[in-house]
């Protein structure tokens, strides 16, 4: 080869020719200005992620987040570990913020009403129109906003004040009754903090605190910390009282299926019984004496003995905590019910120990529907001549009886500030595309003294000509001639923070340094006003604690319309991650369903999947039935948030809007919109549909999948009288004969066995431990995994065929569930992921080595090598391998911007599965190697562990006996799913759930 062309030369020529051909082939019609990183921006290294601290804008809880950006694009949202609310975790909705940011249905430009539709206009025109419209309206201007950050609120109020108009806050999920009850009971017009972590007995009268109630991430963490069994075997008990088991209820130890609306009576009767035992009800002593247990038992439709048990539990508990009914339980006497729960808290000594006012939830939504109802009637009456709607979607989330749509049509000039069209914006005369919270400035104040900055983490997504809400308002102020102290909202925000900084006595030195620090960390803690002793006060208004009045005929079933843990009040509906996330309770995705007790359904001759017509005096909807043993026989439940008409391609036509069944009735005391207000008639339509569910069977059939242990047995060290079956290894006769093995589980693979390149003496074995006593099944991990690993969505049709691509399957098995009698409830969650078996059945069957064992004990999957025989999936006993039946990764621009560049976007026809976030492992290994050190324990954090609000997941090296993983796994509760039967030697160690009631299936 000395003469002629060398291989390198050949490649050079080939490369140059190819590139030339490519250049010639390029069209020159669309020359856009492309600038390479000739001089790289200071904080961007291609391929290295930059993290920005910001604040989550999905719900009023106000979690602090870190956003990972790469090459200027936000690609992942994670909890900010320094933030007291999120504590480093994030819920599914928080993760899905990315899909709102990159949503292909976002508004591309300002729009003006033109006939029935809207036409695009320029920002100049739009701002001119806005200013003149509001100038003309003057004091007839009304701002209708959702929960708004503090500084933006200041700006809005300033503007509204100048105009002489008014501002009304409305959130569909509002805790107005709790706030009012708190004012009545303790004289504090705010929402207290519920410290689940310090409680040893938690009583929830229906509050879904793990899903949507107030601050789900924080509650999840506190709940898992208290109810997760401790090293000494102690464990908080959780009793759920309510007509329907929400996900929160599914995590209860005991379920009291009380009649809906009876919470107030039951709480007062319990308080009364505690007063009899020496409790102090202060000014409520005489009130609680009026309610005795037998009457309460009668009202709640439970045996009186069960309530006595509850009194004993409360009496014995050192730090009980009682939570009110929550949004789904807001009925005509909701404030009274909340008040009764607060009184019970006070009587049982929770106030000050588990119920705190010094960290009240200042960010929580507690607006009253009453204010909006007044606004609506003013709109109808013509008193409102200009309406600006922002951050709320009343045309969707209010019952149609509210008349909001008609009233809005009646307003002369209506403006919507929105990131994308929704049912309200579509009615507006002018629609302004506002920036997403990840691309605009803002702040939040979730609790006294805690202030977080919502920092834009990237330039506005170029596909959409949007502007930050604050900047739109500042520009409006300028056009109206209103004096403000800033040109941009960024400056405005800084000025407010500067004031706050000075007021607080300039902590951290000069403002610039302080501000930089705040931006870096995402939050600042200022000293908050001290809260003195909080005591019960005499009620200043009369309340009825009786069963609330219900609309509809007496023979109807009680209707519960509850907030969806995935879609919230409906604002998450246009995000495929949330739509496709199997509901933690029903495991159904994409469409609506009605929960009916199996006995009730059988009486009516309805089967699962039958489409029924739900009819109340206020409206009707049609939805398929999901029979569920977790609702009372006299009750049916349906989630809100579905059934959009004008909210984008992923939301429209999916499911039904359950709010259409409700009247627009406000609770007399707090003004909250009541949810539990009517009975419903159910009629089969004769049609049937397959449910888009991932659930096969909810029965474990006594297989060793999710064994549990009773807490008494655990304390006694009795984890079952079984002898573990001898572990065997194919070592005899040249690898054909099983011989007993004495190796410890941690030492897999066993000596003498062959695992490809894996050398147990040299290498790590990456492994995971999941504490099922902590896991609440909230499913945040699933969305976190989708975000991190570019897991595609398949859509409803494909889900119906059983083709979902999630790498985590949150299995939900029903062991004990009885809606008739109060008693133990035992529903077990199991996050099933690739078990990274030491002896993996998937590996030998792959004909092309696409499934193989890495030298550090992972189950590798090489997408490029996969030909798609699906043999590995057939042979996977855990069924964690998912297949790309089509090219699911082709998503509309710019939704593909969310993809993590460190992870392959999988093509059609290849198998995929959990990789233990191998890209994170390699990043850490590379970093350690450049720093010339070993990988530290806990340095590798997979996306699921990072996101888990319950802190149930630990990841690490099973080979290192000192690693936290090894320590956690040495617990007696540890088991591996079906390992005894199929000898797969999984790397995922599950720690059994711990129950208070006896369990039968402790064998593993």
């Amino acid at each position: 080869m000395s003469d002629g062309m060398k291989r390198r030369d050949f490649l050079k020529v080939l490369g140059v020719t190819g590139a030339g051909a490519g250049l010639v082939g390029c069209s020159t019609d669309n020359v856009e200005k492309l600038m390479p990183y000739v001089t790289a921006p200071e904080d961007i290294t291609p391929g290295v992620a930059t993290w920005y601290a910001s604040a989550c804008g999905e719900c009023p809880a106000g979690c602090g987040v870190w956003v990972k950006t790469q090459e200027g694009r936000a690609i992942k949202v994670e909890g900010n570990p320094n933030h007291p609310v999120s504590g480093g975790a994030l819920c599914a909705r928080g993760h899905s913020g990315l899909q709102a940011l990159y949503n292909p249905d976002r508004l591309e430009s300002p729009m003006r009403r033109n006939g029935d539709g809207h036409e695009a206009i320029s920002w100049e025109e739009a701002e001119e129109m806005l200013a003149s419209g509001l100038r003309d309206a003057g004091s007839g201007t009304a701002f209708l906003t959702g929960r708004t950050g503090p500084t933006l609120s200041v700006l809005m109020d300033e503007l509204v004040g100048e105009l002489g108009g008014r501002r009304v806050e409305y959130e569909a999920l509002s805790e107005a009754p709790l706030r009012e009850a708190s004012r009545i009971a303790f004289g504090r017009d705010e929402i207290p903090a519920f410290d689940l972590e310090s409680a040893d007995l938690i009583l929830s009268f229906g509050a879904d605190f793990l899903e949507t109630w107030l601050s789900p991430v924080e509650h999840n963490r506190g709940f898992a910390r208290s109810t997760g069994v401790q090293a000494d075997g102690s464990k908080a008990r959780f009793v759920f009282l309510g007509a329907r088991l929400s996900l929160t209820g599914m995590n209860a130890d005991d379920w009291y299926p009380v009649r809906p609306g009876s919470e107030g009576v039951v709480a007062l009767a319990l308080a009364g019984a505690l007063v009899d035992r020496g409790g102090d009800a202060g000014p409520y002593a005489s009130l609680v004496q009026e309610y005795d247990l037998s009457a309460a038992a009668e009202a709640a439709d439970v045996p009186v003995s069960s309530l006595e048990t509850l009194v004993d539990l409360l009496d014995e508990a050192e730090s009980p905590l009682i939570l009110g009914p929550g949004v789904a339980g807001q009925h005509r006497n909701a404030t009274a019910a909340n008040l009764a729960a607060l009184v019970l808290n006070a009587v049982s000594g929770a106030v000050g120990t588990t119920l705190h006012f010094d960290r009240a939830m200042t960010g929580a939504a507690s607006s009253s529907y009453g204010d909006l109802a007044t606004l609506i009637s003013d709109m109808e009456g013509g008193a409102v001549s200009a309406l600006v709607v922002r951050g709320t979607n009343p045309a969707f989330s209010l019952p149609s009886g509210s008349g909001f749509r008609e009233a809005m049509e009646n307003v002369g000039f209506s403006v919507a500030l929105a990131t994308q069209m929704d049912e309200t914006a579509v009615l507006a005369d002018l629609v302004l595309p506002e920036g997403h919270y990840l691309e605009s400035w803002g702040d939040s104040n979730p609790r006294p003294g805690v202030w977080a900055v919502q920092q834009p983490v990237m330039q506005p997504v170029p596909h959409f000509d949007s502007r930050g809400t604050g900047d739109i308002l500042l520009s409006l102020a300028r056009n109206l001639g209103v004096e403000t102290d800033a040109e941009t909202f960024h400056d405005y925000l800084r000025n407010r923070w500067s004031d706050r900084h000075s007021e607080a006595g300039q902590p951290g030195g000069g403002f610039e340094a302080f501000w930089r620090q705040v931006l870096r960390e995402g939050l600042a803690q200022f000293p908050a006003d001290a809260v003195g002793e909080v005591e019960l006060q005499s009620p200043d208004r009369a309340l009825s604690f009786d069963l609330p009045e219900m609309d509809g005929e007496d023979d109807g079933l009680n209707l519960i319309v509850y907030p969806s843990s995935r879609l919230g009040d409906g604002r998450g509906a246009n995000r495929p991650w949330l739509q496709e996330l199997p509901d933690p309770v029903s495991k159904i995705a994409w469409h609506s369903w009605v929960e009916v007790h199996p006995d009730t359904a059988a009486e009516m001759g309805i089967r699962k999947g039958d489409i029924v017509r739900l009819e109340t005096p206020h409206g009707e909807v049609q939805a398929p039935v999901w029979t569920y043993g977790g609702v009372r026989r006299d009750t049916v439940a349906i989630a809100m948030g579905s059934g959009h008409e004008n909210y984008g391609r992923y939301a429209d036509g999916k499911g039904v809007n359950a709010m259409r069944l409700l009247p627009a009735v406000e609770e007399a005391v707090s003004g909250a919109l009541v949810h539990l207000v009517t009975r419903v008639q159910i009629e089969p339509t004769g049609r049937h549909r397959r449910l888009a569910t991932i659930e096969g069977s909810d029965q474990t059939r006594d297989r060793a999948i999710v064994p549990a242990v009773q807490v008494d047995d655990l304390r006694a060290g009795d984890l079952g009288d079984h002898e573990p079956r001898p572990r065997t290894e194919l070592r005899g006769g040249g690898g054909f004969i099983p011989v007993p093995s004495d190796a410890e589980p941690e030492s897999f693979p066993h000596e003498g066995s062959r695992y490809g390149d894996y050398d147990p003496a040299e290498n790590r074995r990456w492994a995971m431990a999941i504490d099922l006593d902590k896991c609440t099944g909230c499913s945040a991990c699933i969305t976190a995994c989708q975000s991190e690993n570019n897991v595609a969505n398949v859509g409803e049709d494909q889900l119906l065929m059983g083709r979902d691509l999630h790498w985590i399957r949150m299995e939900r098995y029903v062991e004990t569930l009885d809606a008739e009698e109060p008693g133990p409830v035992d529903i077990r969650f199991l996050p099933m992921i690739c078990q990274h078996c030491g002896n993996a059945p998937c590996e030998p069957v792959c004909p092309v080595y696409a499934a193989y064992h890495t030298p550090d004990g992972l189950n590798g999957q090489i997408y490029n090598r996969c030909v798609g025989t699906r043999y590995c999936a057939n042979n996977c006993p855990y069924k964690v391998r998912v297949f790309n039946w089509f090219g699911f990764s082709d998503v509309p621009e710019p939704l593909n911007w969310q993809y993590n560049p460190d992870v392959t976007v999988r093509a059609e026809g290849v198998m995929e599965k959990c990789s233990f976030c191998v890209q994170r492992i390699r990043t850490v290994e590379n970093r350690a190697s450049t720093e010339g050190r070993d990988v530290r324990d806990g340095e590798v954090v997979p996306a699921c562990q990072q996101s888990c609000p319950a802190e149930a997941i630990v990841f690490g090296d099973a080979r290192d006996p000192e690693s936290r993983l090894s320590q956690v796994s040495r617990d007696g509760r540890t088991y591996r799913v079906m390992d005894h039967l199929i000898n797969t030697q999984p790397a995922v160690n599950y720690l059994r759930k711990v129950t208070f009631h006896p369990v039968t299936d402790i064998h593993v």
Partner: protein, 462 residues
Amino acid sequence: MATVSEKDRATQTHPDVRNYGEVNTDILQMLSRPGKWWWVLFGLSVAGIGVLAVSWGLQLIQGIGLSGLNSPVGWGAYITTFVFWVGIAHSGTLISAILFLFRAKWRQSIYRAAEAMTVFAVMTAGLFPLIHLGRAWHAYWLFPYPNQRLLWPNFRSPLVWDVFAVSTYFTVSSLFFLLGLIPDIAAARDQSKKGSLRNRFYTLLSFGWRGTDRQWHHFGKAYLLLAALATPLVLSVHSVVSWDFAMAIVPGWHATIFAPYFVAGAIFSGVAMVITILVPLRKIFGLEKYLTVRHFDAMAKLCLVTGLIVFYAYLTEFFMAWFSGEDPERHVFWNRVFGDYWWATWIMLTCNGLVPIMLWFKRVRHSIAALFTITLFINIGMWFERYVIIVTSLSREYIPFAWAVYRPSVIEMGIVFGTFGWFFFWFLLFIRLLPPVAIAEIKEVLPPPMRPKSKKTKEVAS
């Protein structure tokens, strides 16, 4: 040829065939006279290929998702039909090779058609591993071809064994088929018009056969050797195919009985298919003289024996599932009979267990119509056997929460039925181009032409 007494006739395999010349005329006339029914069937087959091409083309363009497969049922109608066709392929070699070695005299009339069926069935079966792949364009990665990246297939994977088993089987059975054809092709060559396309085709395939002693000697040796070589394949190929399942840990698949069970099933279905094909062939071409009731009787007996083995295997499977004491195993078998796919299981049990009981009766075995009906049932039953094994096992494995039901899609059924078109396309071409009944070998079992005792015309041997 001498006329034989009635007593002698009864001992002969083809009592109605009078002389060698008649054999040549009768068989070779099949090559020249297509007839209406042939065209109808051929048209249907071409239409079937059209359906196959369209369905598969769509699937290649849009994705394997056009099938009804899902998680956890990753294999369905495609692999079912693959195993079905591999099974069909077995009787040909059994009849031509094993029965040859055992000197079973009834094989001569049927073995050629059975062999052709084998070759075409393997050709059909071989499509399915391609069809069912997620990325069919990378199928060659399963072969150990030399490449720069030094990547080899995984020899531990039963799918790779499959590649070797099926390709070996195809090679050997095609060779065996073509070798046995040589003398008959030569006869056809001699009868065809010189210089015609047919003549050139026959000339090529007859490899210069002139019927010399020396050629017969070599031919006999080669045939015997290939028969000996093909015999183990009859047992091994379907054993390997069965290991696709038995080597996996799927409850309902992971059983040591699978290899013999599948081999018996393959012969059962293969012989049934031979009968199904020969009945119309005999009717259309008037081959009653060559395919006598006695031949069918013998095949029916083979069917009966293998059918009983298969049914015994079913019972053993159920017993072992119960005996294992493990719920996953037990539940799979309970689910087969009473679960989502009860209908498929009962079709299987009825067609393969109950219907063949009729074959105990000689009257049934001697009724061509009855045999035809019964073997149709068996064909259907054996397709469902594979469907039941594959689908019911996968749909309910270890983790109940992941259970799911699979329903074949229209595209999938199009491909499955389309491959029948593909198979019959080749088979119909075969009966028009190559002698479908072995001319030379039938003559072996006919009484040899003796010098006439009286003055009769001489016969010409081919």
